[in-house]
């Protein structure tokens, strides 16, 4: 087997290694060029996206003016109302500082501002905008508070005649923000140039003075082409002799240029790191190929065979639920599948047997319930039958109440039993004199025993044995044990209860214990049943749940005690309960 897999692995490695190494070498040779192209391309993409974002920002602001223009020209409004509209707009849109309504002659009629004496722009393009009824965009102006602003105007027309213009002063802080957020590598920055070659924004704050002073800058060789509307990229040398990889895109409708400069050195840092990465990749891939070959060989050849062997062995041991896990679709897979279907058949057979067993147990429980519940229900029935005749009698009513309540409690207890077999209820202990308690308890059994012709012998001493106990729980313990014993002596016999103090420690525990032994003279139980007698649903009787001893044991243990059974066939059974004494 090993030999087959080894051969297979070597074959795999050889087949994949040769083309990989060839590809790696070729890639390394071309990577440098690719990387610089990549840097340029990526910068271009960033520039385009930023340009779009900025244009969108300005377009949106223009749209606001457009909607004001529409509102104003649609409805005849008083200046006061127009002013309110302008002011509301200013409040709603943070970037707006002032909005004016300008008449066709270029005079400010209404202004949002508190101040007065505003003069409309006088530049050429504003006049042109009025004449041609087209949107107006001013040069960028920096306020005394260092806020870059632009005036945007949207014409209002009525019957195709100019009716005025809505002129808004918008702050461009968001444009600055967009530009300063573009950081490529460590020193790659974006900048915006206006058509008058003024720097409008720069990602490097040290250029702020140039922006504020609005000097005409001529440092960018790409500016000319970009301002003509072309997207270009290239390399140029700055005044400091630094080589820059530069890309530029025009901003639609604004005649601005957005340029991203990145030192060539830095752009190539990436190229170099890419070369290194490619080399590393080739090595890593070779290793991975070898590893995959090795693992694949093991996984697809050796492991399936091993698995089949293992499962066959497990089957022999009787672990029928085991399955072969071979997910491949080759011959191993087929083999595995037929093995599994065989296993499934076997397991189904096994399951049928188990189901039968379970059904029998259920029958046992049901039978036991029916029997045990019959008595309390009968009692209630009886008392109820007397209702009509005896209702007037006080004593009857009292009996009725106590009987019905008691029997309902008994029924309840049965349900509790069923639940209890799984979980133990918390018990609530109080100090109880065990002797007194047992005397009372066995007084109650006296009649039942007598009616079955069973004698009851008590060997209960006259001293006080105080235990900490839940009398309800104890009731159930002794009920269960005594009932079992009575059931076991259907032909009559003697039930002996004896109590003593175990002054020596029990199972090495120094505490003093009380021991209650209940001995019947029934047929006794077989060793097999004795073994399972505490597991529940086991009974030598034909009736009952068989839960009694199991519950009794649990409850005794919850008191810190023990329940043991001694039994010899033909000699009867003895249940021994030990409980720790509270006061020694």
């Amino acid at each position: 087997m090993r030999k087959i897999s080894t051969k297979l692995i070597l074959l795999l490695i050889a087949a994949s290694l040769v083309p990989l190494l060839t590809y790696g070498t070729l890639s390394l040779m071309t990577s440098r060029k690719t990387a610089s192209n990549l840097a340029s391309e990526r910068n271009m993409k960033v520039a385009q996206r930023a340009a779009e974002e900025i244009s969108l920002y300005l377009d949106n602001n223009m749209r606001i003016l457009k909607s004001i223009a529409a509102t104003i020209s649609r409805t005849p409004l008083q200046p006061r109302q127009i002013k309110a509209i302008l002011r509301n707009t200013i409040l709603e849109f943070k970037e707006y500082q002032i909005i004016h309504l300008i008449d066709p002659n270029g005079k400010v009629i209404v202004s949002s501002s508190i101040k007065s004496n505003f003069i409309a722009p006088t530049d050429e393009s504003f006049r042109e905008a009025l004449e041609k009824k087209i949107p107006y965009r001013s040069q960028v102006f920096i306020t005394d508070e260092l806020i870059p602003t632009i005036s945007l105007g949207f014409p209002m027309t009525k019957m195709d005649k100019l009716d005025g213009m809505i002129l808004g002063v918008v702050n461009l802080l968001d444009v600055w923000r967009i530009v300063s957020q573009i950081k490529i590598g460590k020193h790659g920055n974006a900048l915006i140039l206006s058509n008058t070659r003024r720097l409008l924004a720069h990602g490097d704050p040290s250029f702020l003075p140039i922006i504020i002073e609005r000097k005409v800058v001529d440092f960018h060789p790409l500016a000319g082409d970009v301002l003509k509307g072309q997207s270009v990229s290239g390399v140029y040398k700055t005044n400091d002799g630094l080589e820059m990889l530069s890309v530029g895109v025009p901003l639609p409708r604004m005649s601005w240029a957005l340029i991203i400069d990145q030192p060539l050195q830095e752009a190539f840092v990436e190229a170099r790191s890419m070369t290194r990465r490619l080399g590393a990749f080739t090595v890593v891939f070779t290793l991975i190929t070898c590893l995959v070959g090795f693992i694949g060989g093991r996984r697809y050849v050796i492991q399936p065979i091993n698995k089949l062997i293992e499962i066959t062995r497990a089957f022999a041991r009787g672990a029928l639920e085991e399955r072969v896990e071979i997910s491949t679709k080759d011959e191993f897979g087929e083999l595995g599948q037929s093995f599994n279907s065989m296993a499934s058949d076997l397991e189904k057979l096994e399951e049928k047997v188990k189901r039968k067993e379970r059904e029998a147990t259920l029958g046992l429980i049901a039978g036991g319930l029916v029997h045990d519940l019959k008595h309390p229900i009968k009692n209630i029935e009886n008392m109820t039958n007397l209702l009509d005749e005896m209702f007037e009698k006080q004593k009857y009513r009292e009996r009725f109440k106590t009987t019905v309540l008691r029997e309902l409690a008994t029924i309840n207890r049965y349900f509790d039993d069923l639940a209890d077999i799984a979980t133990t209820k918390p018990i609530q202990c109080i100090p109880v004199n065990l002797i007194e308690y047992l005397n009372q308890c066995f007084d109650q059994f006296q009649t039942a025993a007598a009616s079955q012709g069973i004698g009851l012998i008590r060997e209960i001493p006259d001293e006080a044995l105080i235990v900490s106990a839940d009398t309800h729980a104890l009731n159930r313990v002794f009920n269960n044990i005594v009932n079992n014993a009575l059931d076991a002596m259907a032909e009559g016999g003697t039930l002996k209860v004896s109590v003593r103090r175990l002054s020596e420690g029990w199972e090495g525990k120094p505490d003093q214990m009380a021991e209650v032994a209940i001995k019947d003279t029934g047929p006794g139980i077989t060793p097999e049943i004795k073994e399972k007698v505490f597991e529940g649903f086991v009974s030598s009787k034909s009736k009952g749940l068989g839960l009694g001893l199991s519950i009794a044991k649990k409850l005794t243990e919850a008191h810190g005690g023990h329940l043991n059974i001694q039994s010899f066939q033909g000699e009867g059974t003895t249940c021994i309960i030990t409980l720790p004494l509270l006061i020694s």
Binding site: R87, N88, L91, K94, I114, K115, L146, P205, I212
Partner: protein
């Protein structure tokens, strides 16, 4: 003669230098370069009494002159030229003992006569100045000896020392001069840490006063360069050609913050903004109506959206954090429903359906005046206008010059409402002149605000001696004035000062920005601190 707005501006001059009395530390030999400060307007008058605006009032008079006292960061009066003082039991006679050995920049010694001389100038009606109101409380000024001066008051005035922060002029130099036109306004002589050395084309050169009584300043030279406009100065600041422009508007902060060579210091400007009503007018007669207008404004929205979070809603009229600040929250929450409710209860509802509330024929409309020179974001006013309009209250906003506002509107009491800032420097007794009804006819209570409880509390506060009692009284006063608001309470704003990051020893606090200037020094170039 009395000009509250000017007072507001001038109080910036507050000769307040505080705190650091120890001055005898070793001087750094390293990095003795000048501190270069950019200004936007030419300081035409450098005079502690007359300078009211720009760099001369905010900076120059602060560092050239000293007052009898200085206000510390909690605005408590501390010794300056006066070493100690005491008051007679009846609270009427104040004796100030002056520091010995203090000299003016020209070497002549400072005496009590100079103090009397300066106070006489302040009281001279031809010199409009913000300190003259102090003299209305003073009956006589008597020079007991060279270093002791005694004031006898007309009535007990517990907070008198807190007003004596104005700079002291040397009698010898200024005597016989017309203060308004003297050449000394360009060649001032004081006792402060710096003295004017000479003027240059675009500014002035300040030299350290080696004999300064708190110790020789560590920075030898301060150059003040004057630029055409703020923008130009800021461009130089950003490119590192100058060290500071001192004050920075909040819009510019975000930009300045990006620059590694600068550091911003901010504190709450001790002025609160109020839209005060003319309480005489029918519209504002009812307390509930004035309360309603307070409930109508969403101050938190304004602070977040207009002031970028750099403002604080007015809660009480005492400086935030000072001991007179009320302990409970007095601020009116934004609750337009409650506002409407109060208005309806007082008979205001829109009966004719024109969208404006009316009450027996009168419409709820009024004009808010404001000084055009004031620095208010317009959007704040538009928002107030909008919020009032939502309740059905129509407002107009009218900007006029400070002078116009004072002479035509405030003094004549011909206005509906005015947006104004009120100084909170020093003692809460300052509220007396604005809100006591005794000041309606002859004082600064242009708003005809009248509340007997407020009157009583202000009166008691004046003559109460114990500080803890006064705190209780002024807290009661603030609770009362908020319950019966004279106007719409708005905000405190932050003030920002920019200085080079390499400058050490800087302690900047409200009303006392240049308190420690004699201890400022530049960190040596190699980065080691001393």
């Amino acid at each position: 003669m009395k000009r509250p707005c000017a007072l507001l501006i001038i109080s910036l001059t507050v000769g307040v230098l505080n705190g650091c009395w120890t001055s005898n530390q070793t001087h750094s030999p390293a990095n003795n370069r000048p501190l270069i400060i950019g200004a936007f307007n030419k300081p035409s008058v450098i005079n502690p009494i007359l300078s009211t605006s720009g760099i001369s009032s905010f900076f120059l008079v602060d560092i050239i002159f000293d007052g009898l006292i200085r206000l510390d960061e909690n605005m408590i009066a501390r010794p300056s030229l006066a070493e100690s003082w005491e008051v007679s039991e009846d609270g009427l006679v104040w004796t100030f003992h002056m520091r010995h050995g203090v000299t003016f920049h020209d070497g002549s010694p400072l005496t009590a006569e100079d103090v009397k001389f300066t106070l006489d100038l302040i009281g001279n009606p031809i010199y409009t100045n913000p300190y003259s109101h102090i003299l209305s409380s003073i009956k006589t000024i008597e020079v007991l000896d060279k270093h002791t001066i005694e004031f006898t008051l007309r009535h007990p005035f517990q907070s008198l020392p807190r007003y004596l922060y104005f700079g002291i002029l040397p009698e010898q130099n200024y005597e016989g001069q017309d203060l308004r036109s003297t050449h000394l306004n360009r060649q001032p002589v004081g006792t402060g840490p710096y003295q004017l050395d000479h003027w240059v084309d675009n500014g002035l050169v300040m030299k350290a006063n080696d004999n300064y009584f708190l110790g020789k300043p560590r920075i030898q030279t301060i150059l003040v360069k004057i630029f055409e406009n703020r923008k130009a100065a800021w461009a130089k600041l950003i490119s590192g050609k100058i060290d500071s422009t001192l004050l920075i508007e909040s819009e510019t902060i975000n930009i300045i913050e990006q620059l590694s060579q600068l550091k911003l210091y901010n504190y709450i400007n001790p002025y609160y903004y109020l839209i005060v009503f003319n309480n005489k007018k029918n519209l504002f007669r009812e307390k509930e109506v004035r309360q309603a207008l307070n409930y109508a404004i969403d101050k938190n929205w304004l602070i977040e959206n207009i002031f970028d979070g750099k403002a604080l809603a007015v809660n009480g009229l005492a400086y935030p954090g000072s001991s007179f600040e009320p302990r409970e929250n007095l601020t009116y929450p934004y609750d337009p429903i409650k506002a409407l409710h109060l208005l309806i209860q007082n008979g205001w509802s829109d009966m004719d359906g024109d969208g404006i509330l009316d009450n027996s024929g009168q419409k709820f409309q009024f004009t808010i005046h404001l000084p055009a020179e004031g620095y208010y974001p317009e959007k704040m006013l538009f928002f107030v206008q909008q919020q009032l309009a939502e309740l059905g209250i129509q407002t107009k906003i009218k900007a006029s010059t400070l002078q116009e506002l004072l002479t035509n509107h405030l003094r004549q009491k011909q206005f509906d409402a005015v947006l104004q800032d009120f100084v909170a420097v020093g003692d809460p007794d300052i509220n007396y002149q604005f809100w006591s009804s005794s000041q309606i006819n002859q004082g600064f209570n242009f708003y005809s605000y009248r509340n007997t409880k407020v009157d009583n509390l202000l009166e008691i506060g004046r003559s109460t001696l114990h500080r803890n009692d006064r705190i209780k009284i002024y807290r009661l006063f603030q609770r009362e004035i908020f319950k019966d608001p004279p106007g719409i309470f708005l905000f405190w704003r932050y003030l920002n000062i920019v200085l080079p990051k390499s400058l050490r020893g800087v302690v900047i606090g409200p009303g006392a920005p240049f308190i420690s200037i004699h201890q400022w020094y530049f960190e040596p170039e190699d980065g080691t601190t001393l």
